[in-house]
């Protein structure tokens, strides 16, 4: 199975690193609301997460890639093939919709086979349908009705349906948002495993940092229609390019002025310093404050500390590192200067 799945995507011989290219892509909904221009290169077989709060333009970006929206400027290319104005039906991009959009009047097999209409041979279609269903671990589900399936099974049918026509790029719109939290983590790993096994270039949209980190090889952070930063999870976390990325990706304490200097952020441009809670510790000297709250998480505890100028921040430390009401000094082991 693994071998044949990979063979699907051997057709195109592209040596360039960038398989899917977005060049200055722009969408103007109105004068006040514009998306882009965004330039982004995605290499073959890469999984890219589009991460951002609601209204950041991430869904618009995905719909521009799928061809449901037409860009007002810029260019989209796959393997040097310009698809900017190619309609969705001829773009050969597979898409998994947020609510799956499974056709309720067709059974699982007909849903998965929907995109295979080009090949006239019945047997060939049936073989491809069962191969796609096998890929998502739903062998023998062909004649089941879609509304009889659980949420997780529906999600896998949607994935099989998108992959069956052997698309060049796979697009996923909030792929896990419709599942209950207990199922989400497991599905996330299964999803990544299937995508990596097929080896397909993938772009997915999410507003959850954990999902982006876990599923994506690289993450593009969007805010108010602009691309803030694109990079690996480590890069975004350790070297955020902006205050927005620093605070949106992971927990972050923002210090300014005197407090920033005290923590050792001397040579900053704006005098702003960001410190992750786990990069703060209680010590004999440093930024003074009083512990106001303690939230126990098991392995460690979050301490909310109020500094003398009434700014609150969080310290992640050993559960018994301090008491509520205790006067403490806080020092930073690593600061992010912005």
């Amino acid at each position: 199975m693994v071998g044949s799945a990979r063979a699907w995507h051997r057709g195109e011989a592209v040596t360039a690193a960038a398989f899917l290219q977005l060049q200055g892509i722009e969408k103007r909904w109105s004068d006040a609301v514009t998306i882009g221009p965004i330039t982004l290169d995605i290499s073959r077989g890469e999984i890219l997460a589009l991460l951002g709060p609601s209204g950041s333009g991430k869904t618009t970006m995905l719909r521009l890639l799928a061809g449901f929206e037409i860009a007002d400027g810029g260019r989209i290319a796959v393997a040097n093939d310009d698809v900017t104005n190619v309609p969705p039906a001829r773009r050969r991009f597979g898409m998994v919709f947020q609510h799956y959009a499974l056709f309720p009047h067709l059974d699982v097999g007909d849903n998965v086979g929907f995109g295979l209409a080009g090949s006239r041979e019945r047997g060939a279609v049936a073989t491809k349908v069962s191969a796609a269903l096998a890929l998502v671990d739903l062998v023998g589900f062909e004649r089941r009705k879609v509304h009889e399936l659980s949420g997780g099974q529906q999600q896998r049918v949607a994935l099989a349906r998108a992959l069956a026509p052997e698309p060049r790029v796979l697009l996923l719109d909030e792929p896990l948002s419709n599942l209950d939290p207990a199922l989400r983590e497991r599905t996330r790993h299964e999803l990544r495993e299937v995508i990596k096994r097929v080896g397909i270039t993938t772009v997915f949209v999410t507003h959850e940092q954990e999902e982006a980190f876990d599923l994506g090889d690289r993450i593009a952070v969007l805010n108010q229609g602009r691309l803030e930063q694109a990079g690996s999870a480590d890069e975004l976390y350790e070297r955020p390019a902006s205050l927005f990325v620093a605070t949106f990706v992971g927990r972050a304490n923002v210090f300014r002025g005197a407090a920033a200097k005290l923590l050792g952020g001397g040579a900053t441009r704006n005098g702003v310093v960001v410190v992750r809670p786990e990069r703060l510790r209680f010590g004999p000297a440093g930024l003074p404050g009083v512990v106001r709250e303690r939230r126990y998480t098991g392995a460690a505890a979050f301490f909310t500390v109020e500094s003398d100028d009434h700014e609150r921040f969080e310290v992640l430390a050993e559960p018994d590192a301090a008491q509520v009401g205790e006067r403490v000094y806080v020092e930073a082991t690593r600061v992010i200067a912005l």
Binding site: R28, A66, G67, F68, D72, P87, P88, A89, R90, R91, R92, F93, G94, M95, F97, Q98, H99, A101, L102, F103, P104, H105, F114, G115, A117, G118, R161, A162, P165, L171
Partner: protein, 542 residues
């Protein structure tokens, strides 16, 4: 950035086409009606005022009578359980299947002066003449009440089924007795259903033609008055009468709409309806069962009479209580004589063509209004719905007037006397039915389904055929079957617009009655009834 799109062009074309079909003829009638002599004639003749007033009070009384029958029935069948509840509940909605004209002749054969019952009483009491004459306002009201209680029955059952049982429990917990609960809780909650049924009944009664035409005698309502004036050749006066009827219809609709209020039940979300309560007291349960069955028999009697009459050959039934001969002679004649097959074929093809076009227009309209959200969407939606607000006679007269003049530059052509005009009239009447069903289905259709098809490589037509149409099917089938049945049994538009070549079944029924061919008329009625029932049954299937 905002170059004119092809979609806007399509929207403009659809809007213009609909305006030409729906508004333009009405405007032309309005223009022709502004004729001083005709208006003076209308205002000064007492007969005109009497007919207009008759239309209004007959319609209002029809609403009251239909409510008096339909509302208690809805409560009985929704809240109480007794043997046969389900079967009877479906049978009771049956009059909705009858085309108006068929209902009227069934009544004629049952309650008319030479009908089944009158004949039985005459024979039993050895009377010289028939004990009564089924004529005038009372006869019209009887037919209206019989055929229109269904609206109240169906609307109220739907409303009661949505009623949240916790509301009734809350009222009881707050110490309200039954009467208080009924008037302070149930009635206000069901007001939208009540008003909705009242509007439908009022509009149907106001536009009713078959009953006043057959039973009216010297008693005229506005619809029969208009047709009589037109046949007398006084066209300007007919225009004024048409405008007067249209004004009454629009005014009635607006007044009733104001009382409608918001649909509170929908606003509060879906409730859990109370389960039907079994009646515990044996005597009461028997009473309810007998009453229910008795009622069903009374309501089904016209259908049964129609079938019986259709089996009696010409001239075989004179003074006997029961027909001496019963056979399929009439049906044999129906299907073997070309002169009788012709109207059936006419009705079928005209209803089929008008329904098909109405479905296509509604799908294009639905796509433009719901999916593309074009700038003209309100106009398109309004134009699709408008023919419902005006009586059929108004449109028949308007189309006859508009398309009897050759003036291609103002888009008027001579269609009177051609085979095109009658299907065109059916089409106009069909638009609100298909439009309503398809627009509602389109609104429930998740656009992601069509996008999913496109992302899987399906082109526009494949997406339409494989995804959109199958998903629109319930609304489409319901709208199309109603439109087809309406066209098949139509008399209102046909009597104004038919030619010898296009004469439909309804006209043939009338001429058979005139020739005392009651058996043939009844056989036609049975065919219409069965086809309507089958088509509506298929249309309502999920």
């Amino acid at each position: 950035m905002t170059r004119p799109r092809r979609v806007d062009l399509a929207a403009a074309l659809v809007t213009l086409l609909l305006a030409w079909l729906v508004i333009y003829p009405i405007l032309i009638v309005g223009a022709e009606a502004s004729n001083g002599v005709a208006i003076r004639a209308f205002l000064t003749r007492p007969g005109e005022w009497a007919a207009l007033w008759a239309s209004i009070w007959i319609s209002l009384l029809s609403v009251i009578l239909a409510a008096a029958i339909g509302v208690p029935l809805a409560f009985l069948f929704e809240w109480f359980d007794f043997p046969g509840r389900k079967t009877l509940g479906a049978l009771i909605a049956l009059p909705v299947v009858l085309p108006p004209l068929v209902g009227v002749i069934a009544f004629l054969f049952l309650f008319g002066e030479s009908g089944f019952i009158a004949r039985a009483i005459q024979a039993a009491l050895h009377l010289e003449n028939a004990p009564w004459r089924l004529q005038g306002p009372a006869a019209i009201l009887l037919v209206h009440a019989y055929s229109m209680y269904v609206y109240f029955y169906l609307f109220m059952r739907a409303g009661l089924a949505k009623l949240d049982v916790s509301m009734l429990e809350a009222a009881q917990a707050l110490g309200a007795d039954r009467k208080t609960t009924l008037w302070r809780v149930i009635v206000p909650l069901l007001r939208p259903s009540l008003i909705g049924a009242a509007i439908l009944t009022f509009m149907t009664a106001l536009g009713s033609f078959s009953a006043p035409y057959i039973f009216g005698g010297g008693f005229r309502v506005m619809t029969t008055q208009i047709v009589a004036t037109k046949l007398n050749g006084d066209l300007p006066l007919a225009m004024v009468e048409t405008v007067a009827l249209a004004i009454v219809a629009i005014a009635g609709l607006l007044i009733l709409r104001r009382t409608e209020g918001d649909d509170i039940l929908v606003a509060l979300g879906k409730g859990i309806a109370p389960r039907p309560r079994p009646i515990r007291r044996v005597s009461v349960r028997w009473l309810a069962t007998i009453m229910g069955w008795g009622l069903a028999v009374v309501l089904l009697l016209p259908h049964l009479t129609l079938i019986l009459v259709s089996l009696v050959p010409y001239g075989a039934w004179t003074t006997e209580i029961l027909p001496p001969v019963v056979n399929f002679d009439n049906y044999r004649r129906l299907f073997s004589e070309t002169e009788r097959l012709r109207p059936m074929w006419n009705s079928f093809w005209m209803a089929a063509v008008s329904t098909t076009v109405a479905v296509v227009v509604a799908i294009v309209g639905g796509w433009l209004v719901v999916r593309r959200r074009v700038a003209w969407r309100r106009a398109i939606e309004g134009l699709l719905a408008l023919p419902w607000a005006l009586p059929g006679t108004v449109f028949a007269i308007a189309l006859a007037t508009t398309f009897s003049v050759r003036a291609p530059l103002v888009l008027r052509f001579v269609l009177v006397g051609t085979v095109v005009l009658l299907p065109l009239a059916y089409l106009v009447r069909a638009l609100p039915l298909t439009g309503r069903g398809i627009l509602a289905s389109y609104r429930q259709l998740d656009p992601a389904l069509e996008e999913a098809a496109a992302s899987l490589g399906a082109g526009r037509w494949r997406t339409l055929a494989r995804v959109t149409l199958p998903q629109l099917r319930p609304g489409l089938a319901a709208g199309a079957s109603l439109a087809f049945v309406a066209g098949l049994g139509d008399l209102v538009a046909s009597i104004v617009l038919y030619t010898f070549e296009t004469r439909p079944v309804s006209i043939e029924i009338l001429s058979s009655l005139r020739l005392d061919e009651t058996g043939v008329a009844a056989a036609f009625g049975v065919v219409l009834m069965l086809v309507s029932a089958i088509v509506l049954g298929v249309g309502a299937r999920r």
